[in-house]
């Protein structure tokens, strides 16, 4: 692609509004007669509700209604539909909009209170009395996996919801012939996500037509519509769902939530608008989390450091329900073998239910877990062989000349996974060059003189992006010459309006400010999937290009008639179709739009279709594979155990960059998310499933004072799998970051330090390790 805007670091069209406080988020919606909702939530992890006494609460000031699941029986009943079916899950394990009788995690919604203000609703929610029979709970996934564990669902015989297996090649044979075999156990911590805007929903019912309108802070508004319409047995046309500005998503907001259903059901029941805004404490107990997995892996490798095969087992913590089916364990499997060319792979994942809030994708969706496993193994092999860590990777990588490379695993539809393009060795070489790895020992020695332990970490990754099936866009040129782009792709801060406007403006020869992009409103565009899995640049970006190409062709056809010039002699420039190189011979897009809007009794030229507009969908039938290599340096204070990431360098290839400013921002934010996972973010539960970290005083997120500047270098290998040559970039920062930081910490602790198979790590842990080392060496 070449053009004035595609590829340029243009500043975002979103910014002026957001910077001046004129963003419009769900909580900014005010409707006449609106009621405010608060949920009565479980304060226990497992129990059966014998009865609910609402009488005191109903008598409190401002309270209008309190509903439990029974109260919705005349509208809808039963559990919610699953977001993604999986043949291994014979029965969906989904929530009811409000808990039916058995409650399975702290924070599960039991009743909804509607009042004239949020404060009154919250007061009354606290006054609803529950009579509960407590049941044994299990919060540790390894204990939950054991045969004699209490069960998360009392009617289940076991907590193992499904066992997934995948692999290729003959593992036994490769292991038998390999020079070395190592076995390691890994414990990857659960952690939360924490978009800065909590979730929120406003539901409204049209009293005349009974149509339902929902504004939700969702990454998947069309999924909300589809599932809610199915649940209510309504036509999708009678359910309008839209997202206003959304204050960050990162995965959890891609779920269709019980609260979205409960608020909608309440609005239908009470026949008034209802708003629910999640507070941060609710976010800790009711918004999905991720990452929790315990792995045991064997790796077979040769004397030269070449990784040949991996086999292993995972216990995956799915929490109390599986609203998103088996998407996380499936993603974990599909993220193997990463950048490495293995001869064989054999994986088993037990998907285990616990009495904790469910897990669902969070920025990277298990890809960071797998990057952590593979990169830790690469470091482990290097240490075992006393080899350079880079060398193990170089010898094990899929090579550029092997592209496209078929990994041996299959996608969800059964087709082979194949990496489209890339140069993984080149990326590693570049990042080591940029961080000046060859001079690292001098920096380590200099730090030592200051009493600090300095370490260098490296990590590579591959990221599948552009997940199908599709996104679409319609483009219309208005009679004023303005371009309106509408797409189902929702936005949570990724700058979609700017990126799509860049594509459309180039294709139609107009200025960026002439393009308006409308996202994720089912009344403005009929279909959409989800803003997840770094898929929108590929799917929606391509559909904008395809729709713009159609509009462009239509404008040229019209101008060809009017100007009596062959189509090939025409170009779009300055908001007009002009004869190439003869700008005075032109016809403005606004004139074409007006003409194609039609005049009574005047035929359209050449029997053209009315309206200077077109719609296109891009079917993403094959994944695009972004990749990257990261390197960082940390300094550890051996007295306090404090770890500082002092330098962080990223080499990233997401194909053609639509807007480098936006891509860099996505990567930087992602890296910081990964640093948080490596060093700070710890969601602690007691044995009974009580969360002990429900404030930002306990649960530490990365702050500016702890974060390093992040240097980014791009490689641009265009993807051959879409018309604009792009690959996704939303999660590429996070995927290798925790692995990279832990690699650096291990390097800083020195050759006598421990192998680190866990994250996050704490200062206390570091000091313990250092003491252990001193004791051992002394």
């Amino acid at each position: 692609m070449s053009g004035r805007f595609f590829g340029a670091a243009v500043t975002r069209v979103e910014d002026a509004r957001l910077l001046t406080g004129k963003g419009h988020y769900v909580d900014d919606i005010e409707l006449a007669g609106m009621l405010h909702a608060a949920f009565v939530r479980a304060s226990f992890a497992h129990g059966r509700i014998r009865s609910i006494d609402k009488s005191d609460a109903l008598a409190m000031p401002g309270v209008v209604a309190i509903y439990t699941m029974d109260d919705f029986a005349d509208i809808a009943q039963g559990p919610m539909p699953p977001m993604a079916q999986h043949p291994l899950l014979k029965t969906p394990i989904t929530y009811h909009p409000l808990s039916d009788t058995e409650v399975r995690h702290v924070g599960e919604a039991i009743a909804i209170v509607l009042a004239d203000s949020r404060a009154n609703a919250e007061d009354a929610a606290a006054a609803v009395m529950l009579d509960v029979e407590y049941l044994p709970a299990v919060s540790d996934v390894v204990l939950a996996h054991e045969a004699n564990s209490p069960t998360t669902h009392s009617q289940h015989a076991s907590n193992i919801a499904a066992t997934m297996t995948a692999g290729f090649g003959d593992c036994d044979k490769v292991f038998a012939k390999a020079d070395h075999v190592l076995t390691e156990q890994f414990d990857i911590h659960r952690g939360g996500c924490h978009a800065m805007e909590c979730r929120g929903v406003v539901a409204n019912i049209d009293l005349l037509t009974d149509a339902l309108t929902i504004s939700t802070s969702s990454q998947s508004p069309y999924m909300v519509r589809r599932h809610l319409a199915a649940y209510l047995e309504r036509d999708e046309n009678d359910v309008r769902v839209m997202t206003p500005d959304v204050g960050g998503g990162f995965g959890p907001k891609a779920n269709v939530y019980a609260e979205e259903f409960a608020v909608a059901l309440s609005a239908i029941k009470i026949r008034r608008p209802v708003k629910w805004i999640e507070d941060r404490q609710e976010h800790f107990v009711a918004t999905t989390q991720q990452r929790g997995q315990v792995w045991s892996l064997d790796v077979a490798f040769d004397n030269d450091g070449r990784m040949r095969a991996i086999r292993g087992h995972c216990i995956h913590d799915n929490g109390a329900y599986a609203p998103y089916g088996l998407i996380l364990p499936a993603t974990a499997i599909a993220s193997f073998p990463g950048p490495y060319a293995l001869e064989a792979l054999d994986l088993t994942i037990d998907v285990v239910l616990t009495n904790l809030v469910p897990t669902s994708p969070v920025r990277g969706a298990c890809r960071p877990n797998v990057a952590f496993l593979l990169e830790r193994l690469a470091d482990r092999i290097a240490r075992h062989l006393s080899m350079d860590r880079q060398e193990v990777r170089r010898r094990s990588f899929v090579k550029a000349e092997q592209m496209p490379y078929i990994t041996g695993l299959k996608t969800r539809d059964g087709s082979p996974i194949s990496y489209d393009s890339g140069d993984y060795t080149g990326a590693l070489n570049l990042v080591l060059d940029k961080i000046a790895a060859k001079d690292f020992e001098a920096r380590r020695n200099e730090a030592k003189r200051r009493g600090k332990l300095r370490g260098l970490g490296i990590a590579s990754c591959v990221e599948d992006t552009g997940l199908g099936p599709f996104e679409g866009a319609s483009i219309r040129v208005t009679p004023a010459g303005k371009v309106i782009v509408a797409t189902g792709a929702s936005s949570q801060g990724q700058g979609h309006r700017t990126a799509f406007a860049q594509i459309a403006a180039d294709a139609l020869g107009v200025e960026l400010e002439d393009v308006t992009v409308e996202t994720a409103d089912s009344a403005k565009f009929p279909l959409g999937i989800s803003t997840i899995a770094s898929r929108i640049a590929v799917t929606a970006g391509s559909s904008v290009q395809l729709a713009a190409d159609k509009v462009r062709a239509k404008a040229i056809t019209f101008a060809s008639h009017q100007l009596e010039v062959g189509a090939h002699d025409l170009e779009l420039e300055g908001g007009a179709v002009q004869v190439k190189g003869v700008p005075e011979m032109k016809i403005k897009l606004s004139e074409i739009a007006r003409a194609l809007a039609g005049t009574t009794g005047v035929p359209l030229p050449g029997n053209m279709e009315p309206d200077l507009a077109a719609t296109a969908y891009f079917n993403s039938n094959a994944l695009t594979f972004a990749y990257g290599a990261n390197a960082c340096e940390v300094e550890i204070d051996p007295e306090t155990g404090d770890v500082r990431v002092v330098r962080y360098v990223v080499v990233h290839d997401c194909g053609k960059l639509i807007n480098p400013l936006i891509v860099d921002g996505q990567i930087r934010g992602g890296v910081v998310h990964g640093i948080g996972n490596a060093l700070f973010e710890r969601m602690i539960y007691d044995e009974q499933g009580q969360p002990l970290t429900t404030t930002y005083g306990d649960y530490l997120l990365p702050m500016a004072s702890e974060m390093p500047p992040i240097e980014i270098h791009h490689m641009e290998t265009p993807s051959p799998r879409n018309p604009i040559g792009v690959k996704g970039a939303g999660e590429g920062g996070t995927i290798p970051a925790a692995a990279c930081v832990i690699s650096a910490v291990e390097d800083a602790l020195g050759p006598n330090g421990p192998f680190i198979p866990v994250h996050p790590i704490s200062p206390h842990q570091i000091v313990t390790w250092l003491k252990g080392k001193t004791a051992a060496s002394g």
Binding site: M196, G248, F250
Partner: protein
């Protein structure tokens, strides 16, 4: 609950209001006065999204009761620039991609606005310390830090 009368200056204008004593300043600004630019992120004083300036100091509006502004000067993000005429700090945020979802942004702007008035020539570490009470989950902070440094530099010319 008995409402209490307060008088204060909001973004340069004298205002009077009757306020429920338990309402915090953030809710009051957003829901009573319709100034929705101030965002509520955690309601326990850690994320900084709700930061406004009261009598020159950055304050978490979720931790201050609205009745406490009696006699005070309150500034919110709405007091900075407008979409067509951004303030220098806002322009720097746009130029440096200092925002993505925009939710923490008003709090970041107000924290830095107050900071730059008292620290006109900060170092990078000064800026990072100044916003160490504001969480951003999108940007990784770098664009925000650069925006403050660029603004300080421009102010000195």
């Amino acid at each position: 609950m008995t409402e209490r009368s307060v008088a204060f200056t909001l973004n340069g204008e004298q205002r009077e209001a009757k306020i429920d004593p338990r309402m915090h300043l953030g809710d009051f600004l957003r829901h009573s006065l319709g100034l929705t630019g101030t965002h509520i992120g955690c309601e326990h004083g850690v994320c900084g999204a709700c930061t406004v300036i009261v009598d020159g100091a950055p304050v978490r509006s979720c931790l201050m009761l609205a009745v406490q502004v009696d006699g005070c000067r309150v500034e919110t993000v709405e007091s900075l620039g407008k979409p067509g005429e951004l303030s220098p700090l806002q322009q720097a945020f746009a130029a440096n991609h200092g925002l993505q979802c925009g939710f923490c942004t008003p709090g970041m702007l107000m924290t830095l606005e107050a900071f730059l008035r008292t620290t006109p020539a900060p170092t990078e570490q000064d800026v990072r310390a100044a916003i160490s009470g504001n969480i951003c989950r999108c940007t990784g902070y770098q664009g925000i830090v650069q925006s403050a440094l660029d603004t300080a530099k421009a102010n000195q010319k």
